[in-house]
């Protein structure tokens, strides 16, 4: 459903900087893929290109056979709104709105009917366990709750592809676990394709496949087998192989 062919990104400047080199990546429908790599490896650049926030210098991005980078600005905004869902590290919620209003915002912008919005918000909030805070303001809720609200907002219009940028970066391990479980259940129930960028091997171990990039190039990828525990260990091993120390990532944590 998502296909990247030979995507490169060069940042112009006094010294041109090559952030991504010839990335080929394909994600199937309903697949949950994590991109990992050390700081500065180009993970976020890649996510920005897929999320159409940034354009590739060369190469092609296709989402369900369509190249969103060819769309005009306004159509692109609509495309993002209708086809993609976003989850950010810092939640990106509007603090002038209540939780419920934040959730329905994408639909509101599209001019959906109030009754439909209410129903959808209710259903999704119920499944994410945030019904009790629907009328609260965003500064009155905790980080874990805020990320769940962000997930609800990202999911309310049933996007084809859900993009998550360090969704657990601001959360403690308990909240991280909850959020990841929710993403997995969404991925399984709704068959939404999921692409996540993270540093956190714990979070990565929930996905079907982890793609490692380093210095802007694809390094390797590993698939999840039966056991999440074993997958987690493999991720740790891979990370230490890529440059970090194995001890950096304590396996005792799980």
């Amino acid at each position: 459903m998502l296909k990247l062919t030979k995507v490169s990104k060069v940042y112009e400047g006094k010294v041109a900087f090559r952030a991504l080199t010839d990335i080929d990546l394909e994600i199937e429908k309903g697949e949950f893929v994590t991109i990992m790599g050390p700081s500065g490896s180009g993970k976020t650049t890649l996510l920005n290109i897929i999320s159409t926030n940034d354009a590739p210098t060369t190469g092609k991005v296709e989402i369900e056979g369509e190249n969103p980078h060819k769309l005009k600005k306004n159509d692109l905004a609509k495309f993002r709104r209708n086809e993609l869902g976003f989850i950010f590290q810092d939640f990106n919620l509007m603090h002038t709105l209540t939780v419920e209003e934040n959730i329905v915002l994408p639909l509101t912008l599209d001019g959906a009917r109030v009754k439909e919005m209410k129903e959808k918000a209710h259903t999704i909030a119920e499944s994410l366990g945030i019904l009790s805070i629907m009328n609260n303001r965003t500064y009155e809720i905790s980080g874990g709750q805020a990320q769940r609200v962000a997930i609800a907002r990202a999911m309310i219009h049933d996007p084809k592809l859900l993009l998550a940028d360090e969704p657990t970066g601001n959360l403690d391990s308990k909240a991280s676990k909850d959020v990841m479980k929710m993403l997995v259940s969404i991925n399984e129930k709704e068959k939404t394709s999921l692409l996540m960028v993270t540093h956190d091997p714990q979070a990565a171990s929930y996905s079907d496949r982890v793609v490692f990039i380093r210095d802007g190039k694809l390094h390797s990828e590993i698939h999840r087998g039966e056991s999440r525990q074993a997958f987690f260990q493999k991720i740790i091993d891979m990370l230490s192989l890529m440059g970090g120390d194995g001890n950096d990532f304590s396996s005792i944590r799980v």
């Binding site: 306004n74 905004a77 609509k78 990106n92 603090h95 002038t96 994408p106 509101t108 990202a154």
Partner: protein, 629 residues
């Protein structure tokens, strides 16, 4: 890095943040300085301009200074508001309250010093311009040459250094530091919507309606007595409109889900209500300041037009001669021939008419009774209608009433009395007309035949009038008028010369009024600008995060447009309505139609505001877009 260095570098290396505050301070200095250049002009100090005008200018200078104080204070506090987070951060590192106050104080002194110097420099550039404008508005014989305004510079510099010093002390004292968490979360937390009470909202409407009703209902001198209570009531009403009614309306709109959840309405309204506490205060202030500006300028302009046009209307003749009561016929003839020769000297072509005014005994006193044919001879010079009373009929003529000349309605009194003909017939006046044909307090006009039967007059008087032919320059008429007024003192009047004198006396008042009005209006504009740009960063962040989940440019445009339009136009519309009501009341007071003048003044302000809106919107949208897309 010492603490002082830290405070200074904080300003110097963070120019963008301080620039708005700096500019508004500089603008204030500039305004005061330009006014000072004008007020301290050498042409005024040598006594050519009368003492009252100088006093007026001193008062105006005082008003501008006091206003500057509040303006800078307001800019300052809104500027500090936007820096809450920074203070929070500093305090978290262990800065004491005293240190933060010290920092704010140093910053202010630094900014104030440069703003004062900058304002004076820019003022110098505009000095010639303002003097040229002054020269044209003021009718003064001396020309206001450019001069190097040492005194003005000194006065401005000292005044504003003192002002900034006071404000720095003041601000650093009122900078109450709340809980640290409030400071750090400052920009995220709403200051809370003001509570909207239905009763107060209704009260707001009632107050405004009552105020307007009274203002529109009263006539003549009543306006003066009604003025203060109406101003108080309307000001209170305006405050309640913005703090209560508007909040109430927004709440209603918000609770109406099908409206609130429609497209971009949610973004717009949630933002409005989020900032309502700040907005309400700004709106109220801008509305009141603009009302003062509109009304002051409208009133001055209307007053001038009333004085000039009104006098021209109530004085239909170019020149008029009224002898003293006991002047003999010889003196009078001499005067008239003197006037005629002056007119000839000045090449003024004018038609002359003379009338003997005879006073007869009536049932109550002695009154002037005029022959219809005499009246109609004079009417030919004016725009009034001829009168043709029937036999044994008398028509009462009273002057057009206005508040300025203080003429009371003498017509009613004349209507109640009657007079007898020689044959004993008692004549009751039939009706009253208003006209300005004779400069008299009220009189009867009767049929020529009836007039013959009146008997002998108690006393008599004369009135001689001249009407200049069309197409002669005002200069000629004024010059002739000046000579007449000088040489035939207190007996000859010239409308044009009188107007010239009025304009000359009125010029400085008009100029000062315009100046202060414009200062108020421009500051109202910068209040709005401040309101807008204090929240700019916040807005950018907001729009960027919405854009990430998908917001088209046209939607962004729409929200931003609506937001700025509400900010710019809601207080101004209120002010325009206030202003038009006030000017209507004023026109009732003078019994003089000010529609054209009001429309002109209010229209030009509305136009300026629209242009201002378009400019600000352009830059604002550009700023937001650059950040978002």
């Amino acid at each position: 890095m010492t603490f002082r260095q830290f405070a200074f570098n904080n300003v110097l290396r963070n120019k963008r943040l301080y620039i708005a505050y700096f500019f508004s301070s500089m603008f204030t200095v500039m305004v005061f300085f330009t006014f000072a250049i004008f007020a301290f002009h050498p042409a005024f100090s040598d006594g050519a301009i009368n003492q009252n005008v100088l006093f007026g200018m001193a008062v105006a200078g005082g008003i501008i200074y006091v206003f500057s104080f509040f303006f800078v204070l307001y800019s300052m506090s809104s500027f500090l508001q936007s820096r809450k987070k920074e203070f929070g951060l500093l305090m978290m590192f262990g800065a004491s309250n005293r240190q933060i106050r010290m920092m704010v104080f140093l910053e202010n002194i630094l900014i104030g010093f440069f703003a004062t110097i900058g304002g004076i420099l820019i003022g110098l550039v505009f000095a010639k311009g303002i003097l040229l404008v002054a020269e044209n508005v003021l009718i003064i014989s001396e020309s206001l040459d450019f001069y190097f305004p040492l005194l003005a510079i000194a006065v401005t510099f000292i005044s504003f250094i003192v002002l900034f010093f006071c404000i720095s002390v003041f601000v650093s004292f009122i900078l109450r530091t709340k809980k640290l968490i409030d400071l750090i979360k400052g920009d995220k937390k709403s200051k809370g919507e003001p509570k909207a009470s239905v009763i107060l909202s209704i009260l707001a409407t009632i107050l405004i309606i009552a105020g307007y009703g009274t203002a529109l209902y009263v006539k003549g001198m009543q306006v003066v007595f009604a003025m203060v209570p109406v101003i108080v009531v309307v000001t209170l009403g305006t405050y309640l409109i913005f703090t209560q009614l508007s909040v109430y309306i927004i709440r209603r709109l918000k609770s109406n889900k099908s409206f609130f959840w429609m497209k971009t309405n949610m973004l717009l309204l949630s933002d409005l209500s989020f900032r309502m506490k700040d907005n309400a205060r700004t709106f109220f202030m801008v509305a009141i300041i603009s009302t003062v500006a509109f009304t002051a300028i409208g009133a001055l302009y209307g007053f001038q037009s009333y004085l000039t046009k009104g006098i021209k209307e109530s004085e239909p003749y170019t020149y008029q001669y009224i002898p003293w009561l006991n002047d003999s016929e010889e003196v009078m003839k001499e005067d008239v021939s003197k006037i005629n020769s002056i007119l000839q000297e000045e090449n003024v072509e004018a038609k002359m008419e003379a009338m003997e005014l005879n006073y007869f005994e009536t049932s109550t006193s002695e009154e002037l009774i005029v022959r219809a044919s005499d009246y109609n001879r004079f009417v030919a010079f004016t725009k009034d209608r001829e009168l043709h009373p029937g036999e044994n009929e008398a028509i009462v003529v009273q002057p057009v009433e206005d508040a300025l000349s203080g003429v009371s309605r003498s017509g009613e009194f004349l209507m109640e009395s009657s007079f007898n003909l020689e044959n004993g017939t008692e004549i009751q006046p039939s009706y009253i007309v208003e006209s300005s044909v004779l400069a008299s307090n009220g009189y009867y006009v009767v049929n020529d035949k009836t007039y013959e039967q009146l008997g002998s007059p108690v006393r008599n008087d004369w009135s001689v009038v001249w009407k200049a032919k069309e197409g002669q320059t005002d200069q000629q008429l004024i010059e002739a008028g000046r000579k007449l007024t000088e040489q035939v003192e207190h007996k000859a009047y010239s409308v044009d010369y009188q107007l010239f004198e009025i304009n000359k006396a009125f010029g400085p008042i008009l100029f000062i009024g315009l100046f202060i009005g414009i200062v108020f209006f421009v500051s109202a504009g910068s209040f709005l600008y401040f309101r807008l740009f204090t929240d700019l960063d916040e807005e950018k962040r907001k729009f960027r995060s919405i854009a990430k989940i998908g917001l088209t440019q046209s939607e962004l445009n729409k929200v931003v447009n609506q937001q700025i339009a509400i900010l710019f136009f809601s207080p101004i519309v209120v002010a325009l309505i206030h202003g038009s009501v006030a000017l209507t009341a004023l026109s009732h007071m003078f019994n003089y139609d000010l529609t054209i003048e009001s429309a002109f003044v209010l229209g030009s302000f509305a136009l300026i505001q629209i242009i201002y809106f378009l400019i600000v919107r352009f830059f604002y949208v550009k700023q937001v877009k650059r950040m978002v897309f």
